[in-house]
Structures are given as C-alpha cells and as structure tokens.
C-alpha cells in the first residue's frame, strides 16, 4: 500500500509540477484566452463523484452489518455515478474548444484531467467486478475484503479529483 501511495504521489506530482511550472513560473494565463474552462459542468461532476463516495461507504458499511442488498445497491449506484462522471468528462473534452496542440494550457489540462479519468476508468473496472461478485453472493459480513479494497481505491480517486478540480478549475 505504501509503495502504491508513493508511486501515485510521484505520478500525479510530476504532472502537478508541470502545471505549476507553466502557470506560476512561466506566468501563462489560466485559462489562456480565448479559452474557457467548463467550471459549471465540472462542479456538477464533482458533486456526482463525491456522492459516489458516499454510496461506496454505504455499501461497505452495509456488508459489515450483513446487509447484502444495501451493499449491492451501494455498489451499483457507485458504478453508475462513476460512469456518469466519465461520460460527462468525455463530453466536456469534445466541447472544450481546444486541443493538446493549442499550447501549454490545454496540454496540461488534458494531461491532469486525463490522468484522473484513467484512474476513474480503472476504478469502474474494479467496481464492475465487485458488483458482479456482490450479486453472486461472494461477500458476507465476515468476508468482504474485496469491497473494502475497492472502496479504498475509489475514495483515493475522489481525493485526487478534489485536488485536480481545485487547482485546475477553481483557483
């Protein structure tokens, strides 16, 4: 787990270093005119992702109490909200009005948000397997390690989104 955290810090850290270098050291305006960031859509997306963390926590708490249907509902809702986030992110990219070839700002924007989207995609794959296993009755109040580990990853992805959203879209 410590190696995973260290590798993730280095991975995101390298992209954030590029971001701060471009924005603060080089003084590139953020977002560079005439481009605009879709802050409203990203804010809605943030609420969706944060709510998905709550349903993930509900799923884990439910199975710890032996509530199998609570876990199933929680996992399914988490998956659907994660999927909604990813689809909204794709539409945001298509309607952004800029591309990676348009300068440093779009490049680092796509790199940071794209890196996070990759993590969401992996999280969705994990959630899909967890949900299938939940429906097949693999988890009980005593044995639910698979839900616990998937939950940790999902919350970690959401933590990273808060950092990305705050630095890229808001500040």
């Amino acid at each position: 787990m410590y190696l995973f955290i260290a590798s993730e810090i280095m991975l995101f850290g390298s992209f954030f270093t590029a971001y701060f270098f471009i924005r603060i050291v080089n003084g590139v305006p953020w977002p560079t005119p005439p481009y605009h960031l879709p802050v409203f859509v990203a804010t809605i997306n943030t609420f969706i992702l944060m709510t998905s963390s709550a349903t993930m926590h509900w799923a884990t708490t439910s199975i710890k109490r032996g509530n199998v249907w609570g876990m199933r509902a929680g996992l399914l809702l988490t998956f659907l909200m994660g999927l909604a986030f990813l689809i909204a992110q794709l539409f945001e990219y298509m309607r952004a009005g800029f591309n990676t070839s348009d300068g440093a700002f779009p490049t680092i924007f796509f790199c940071l948000t794209g890196l996070h989207s990759c993590h969401v995609f992996i999280g969705l794959a994990i959630l899909a397997f967890m949900t299938i296993r939940a429906w097949r009755g693999h988890f009980t109040a005593e044995h639910h390690h698979g839900v616990e580990i998937g939950g940790i990853y999902w919350h970690f992805v959401d933590v990273m989104w808060i950092v990305v959203f705050t630095t890229v879209y808001i500040l």
Binding site: L3, I152, H155, V159, I162
Partner: protein
C-alpha cells in the same frame, strides 16, 4: 503515524478532510490571493499534523459492547503472541483474546509479500487454539502495534500482555493507552 488508506472508513475520512481543506483554500483565495496561499500553508500543516496524530485505541473508547456471551464486567485480556509461541498462560476467569501478529521484515511489509509470514502466524494460532479452547485466537497485522490496535477495535480489553521482545513491548506501549505488561 496514521495511514489514511488503511481501511475504507479511513479513506472516506481522508476524503472529508481533503474537501474541508480545499473549501478553506478556495474561500480564502477568493478574498485575496496571498490569503489563499497563507491558508494553503496552514491547511497543509494541519493535514500533516492530522496524519501524524493517530488516535489511541483504548484511550476514549470504553467497551460498551459485550463481544462474547459472557457477563459484562469480566476482566478482558489481550495477549500478543509472536509466531512460534508454544504456550500462553491465561489468567483465571478472564476473557482472553490472543493475537498472533504476522511479523514481517521491512522489505516484506513494504512490498506486501507477507503471505509466508501469515502462514507462520496461522500455524501458531492453530497450535495455540488447540491448547487454549476457551480463548479466542486471531492472526493480526505484520506490525504488532497495528495488530493490537485492530484487535482493540472489536475487543475492549482491560490490559495487554505481550510475549514479545522489548521493542515490541515499547511499540505497543506507545500506541495504546492501556496497561501493557510482559508475560
């Protein structure tokens, strides 16, 4: 030190902390950029403090839940027995939980290659279980202090008895606000 990704509940708590921190920074930055920088420094310092201050199990959480069918008020003893322990002396009339930590080397702990160590711990737990039919025996984490911490979350012990060396005794004493003694 707190590991914020140790369990799902801890990770969820981390998310809450990060949201609050981000909200403070955003609010301050909207008022003034340099105020935002100052608040960001304070938030990062506070986050570091939060990470360093692990809650001490046993300090505040009284054992309100009776885990076994035994009457409440019975003396509860948590015994830490390293792998290879052949016998444990159980105090008369006490409810006992024996935890066998799956002790691992630093390399094994960092890479998560602790399967072999867990096998050793499970073998010891099985042997102790055969000799102590009235005690509960469990395998714990690779860090003995962490194993005690985990056990205390579900077993409200009155004291901790350690069968390990001085290092193990000191590590557990640092983390647990309960009487810790050597068997």
């Amino acid at each position: 030190m707190r590991n914020p990704l140790r369990s799902e509940a801890e990770a969820y708590r981390l998310l809450g902390v990060v949201i609050v921190g981000a909200a403070l920074i955003i609010a301050a930055a909207y008022i003034n950029t340099w105020l935002g920088v100052a608040v960001a420094i304070l938030v990062f310092a506070g986050f570091g403090w939060w990470l360093m201050h692990d809650p001490m199990p046993g300090a505040a959480d009284a054992p309100p839940v009776v885990i076994s069918g035994r009457p409440p008020g019975m003396h509860r003893v948590l015994v830490v027995a390293p792998p290879g322990t052949e016998s444990v002396t159980v105090p008369d009339g006490a409810e006992v939980l024996v935890v066998v930590p799956a002790l691992a080397s630093t390399r094994e702990a960092y890479t998560g290659a602790v399967d072999g160590r867990r096998d050793d711990a499970e073998a010891t737990a099985a042997a102790l279980g055969a000799r102590l039919p009235e005690a509960r025996i469990e395998v714990g984490a690779d860090d003995p202090a962490l194993a005690v911490e985990d056990a205390l979350r579900v077993f409200g012990a009155d004291e901790v008895v350690v069968l390990g060396d001085d290092g193990m005794l000191d590590a557990i004493r640092e983390r647990v606000a309960l009487p810790v003694s050597r068997a």
